[in-house]
């Protein structure tokens, strides 16, 4: 199999901090690799190594078969980078930013201008093209940033949290752009903290935490690892939580968990379970505020793999601790 980029055993330390503790990442040409992890997981560090901005302490990485340290100059011809923090010039206009990049890529001025115009139109920035970037909204900046990394028609594009801070509509726009790039044969490395985003875009996902890959697979495979569907139940009267837990335990054959105060969740093994639960709750006279059958999402994947939620930075516990603590409280 040929990989558009491939990292093996990358280790990177910053003083006492181990940002990457031996990480493997790879994507075949024309696919999207989603790198999913909470704050501080090492996403940006991995991207910076693959973009030749940082040298790894250990391990190797190649892009198009070229080593990112030894053949850095050649690698730079293949890649486009949209960093986590805007990598366009605030004082220049949209056009000036793109033309500068074209010039640095040794395009002739006319060609650089034409390419800038084409990209600005494509990203619906034509009207703002002559304004300094500091007058742009967050979404416009993001789009210009994306445009800037496409000027040279790279084979591999790194997008470090490209939709952070965008509203849902703009996020969908970026997703559309990523999909059309892939349709063009470009390989994309996309980091994100949004499980939904990795699910929507990635062919394969590497879940990373504390500088390690803790799971890798297609979105479907990852979902499979956390099992099948779940049944969520919230009784109207919180005082009936214990009774409800008893009923769910009886129909499911396992103790329910309590992810948030007042709700219970159990894995669903067979389809008759839902009706059985409804009947028994009715017999017991328990009024139900919410009862739903839910497919697992990547949040569940992350929870199962790390023992803490995605929103919680490593070490602060957060959702993970809350879940275990409350399960005990609710189900005891």
């Amino acid at each position: 199999m040929t990989y558009a980029f491939r990292a093996e055993g990358l280790v990177k330390r910053f003083g006492a901090t181990v940002a990457l503790a031996g990480i493997d990442l790879a994507a075949r040409q024309g696919t999207v690799l989603g790198v999913l992890g909470p704050n501080g997981a090492g996403k940006t560090t991995a991207v910076r190594i693959l973009a030749t901005l940082l040298r790894p302490d250990e391990g190797t990485a190649t892009v198009g078969g070229l080593d990112v340290v030894r053949d850095a100059g050649e690698v730079r011809r293949l890649i486009g980078l949209t960093g986590q923090y805007a990598s366009v010039d605030e004082d220049l206009t949209g056009t000036e930013n793109l033309v500068l990049i074209g010039r640095l890529l040794d395009m002739r001025t006319a060609a650089a201008r034409a390419r800038a115009r084409e990209l600005l139109a494509y990203f619906e920035l034509a009207e703002a093209a002559a304004r300094p970037v500091k007058t742009y909204s967050g979404g416009m900046r993001r789009r210009l940033d994306l445009a800037a990394s496409l000027v040279g028609r790279p084979d591999v594009i790194y997008l470090d949290e490209p939709t952070t801070g965008l509203d849902p509509v703009r996020r969908e726009d970026v997703w559309g752009i990523v999909r059309s790039l892939v349709g063009d044969g470009v390989t994309v490395l996309l980091t994100t903290q949004y499980l939904e985003e990795a699910d929507a875009l990635a062919d394969e996902i590497s879940v990373i935490d504390h500088g390690r890959v803790i799971a890798h697979g297609t979105p479907a495979e990852l979902k499979q690892r956390v099992g099948g569907r779940h049944l969520d139940l919230r009784p109207l009267d919180p005082a009936r939580l214990l009774d409800s837990a008893g009923i769910l335990a009886a129909v499911a054959g396992t103790q329910p968990e309590s992810p948030t105060r007042g709700t219970l969740t159990v894995p669903v093994e067979d389809d008759g379970m839902l009706t059985a639960a409804v009947r028994r709750l009715d017999e017991a006279g328990i009024a139900v505020a919410e009862l739903s059958l839910r497919l697992p999402d990547l949040d569940d994947v992350f929870f199962t793999l790390t023992g803490h939620g995605t929103a919680a930075p490593a070490g602060t516990g957060g959702a993970g601790e809350a879940r275990t603590a409350k399960t005990e409280e609710a189900v005891r």
Binding site: R48, A51, T52, L53, L54, G73, E74, R76, R77, I79, L81, G83, Y85, A86, S87, V88, D89, E90, D91, L92, E96, L100, I101, G102, R103, L104, L105, D106, M107, A111, A114, R115, E118, L119, Y122, F123, E124, P132, R143, A148, S149, L150, G152, R153, P154, R170, D173, G176, I177, S180, L181, G183, D184
Partner: protein, 274 residues
């Protein structure tokens, strides 16, 4: 953005691979980046205060505050003072270039430059070249205001021009010291602190203010060894007359020496910054 239908055209312009074979990459990329730096200066003219108001302020301060006490007539004092102030202010302005660069380089756009197939030192060289406009402006303001208050070139215009170019060359070379500090320091404030600490002995430890024969022996020794003294003497010689060859040679040697040492160090520090 609702009409995202077609992907960007992927065949209209040459790919990176074809283009980069063209020679003189460092010059080409540095010039493009110097253009960026000039555009930024044009958009934020407040950055130019130190090269426009300061030269005027210094003339007023030195001439009217100290002029009477130092030399018999203000005109006579102005004739020796102005070339020296020109040197002094360009040296200060070169510190400011280091400060600006320290600030600039933290911005994400430098990450983009570093991830592109361009000459490695081009972002630094481009910024420093772009900042030469600051020196030009400074010299124009300094001489213009000097003329308004009575300074006159006593040699010829070509010599005066040579003086300006030599001062700029020295400042350009000296700038790399502050670029290096700018690359090593985390904060612009630190660059400023270190820069000005170095600047005061360099600029005031000269004969800009007073003739050296009134100074204590150790200070006289420093003033004589100080390269800025040589630059000031050259500028004076070329503008109002006096010995030129000796101090000019000293100026050029110092400039080239500083450049040869600090340019590679600054580039190395830039490439190592993460």
């Amino acid at each position: 953005m609702t009409t995202l239908t077609a992907p960007p055209e992927r065949t209209a312009v040459p790919s990176r691979r074809e283009g980069a074979a063209r020679p003189f990459a460092l010059v080409r990329h540095s010039v493009a980046l110097a253009g960026r730096s000039l555009t930024k200066t044009r958009r934020t003219p407040e950055q130019l205060i130190d090269v426009t108001l300061q030269p005027i302020l210094f003339v007023v301060m030195f001439l009217y505050l100290l002029g009477g006490a130092v030399a018999g007539s203000t005109h006579e004092y102005l004739q020796t003072l102005l070339p020296a102030l020109m040197v002094m202010n360009t040296v200060f302005a070169s510190v400011q270039t280091g400060i600006n660069l320290n600030d600039d380089i933290k911005k994400g756009v430098f990450d983009r430059f570093r991830s592109m197939p361009i000459a490695r030192s081009a972002p630094l060289v481009g910024s420093v070249l772009g900042d030469l406009i600051r020196f030009v402006l400074l010299i124009v303001v300094q001489l213009g205001f000097g003329y308004a208050v009575g300074f006159r070139i006593e040699t010829d215009p070509l010599s005066a021009l040579a003086a300006c170019l030599l001062v700029m060359f020295f400042a350009f070379c000296l700038t790399w010291v502050f670029v290096l500090i700018g690359m090593l320091a985390r904060e612009p404030g630190a660059v400023q602190g270190i820069g000005f600490m170095a600047m005061f002995p360099l600029t005031f430890g000269t004969n800009v203010l007073v003739p050296t024969d009134t100074l204590p022996g150790w200070l006289q020794a420093w003033v004589d060894a100080n390269p800025v003294t040589a630059v000031m003497e050259t500028a004076r010689g070329l503008m109002v007359g006096g010995a030129v060859a000796g101090p000019a040679l000293e100026t050029v040697l110092w400039s080239v020496g500083v450049l040869a040492v600090f340019f590679p160090l600054a580039v190395r520090a830039y490439l190592r910054r993460t």
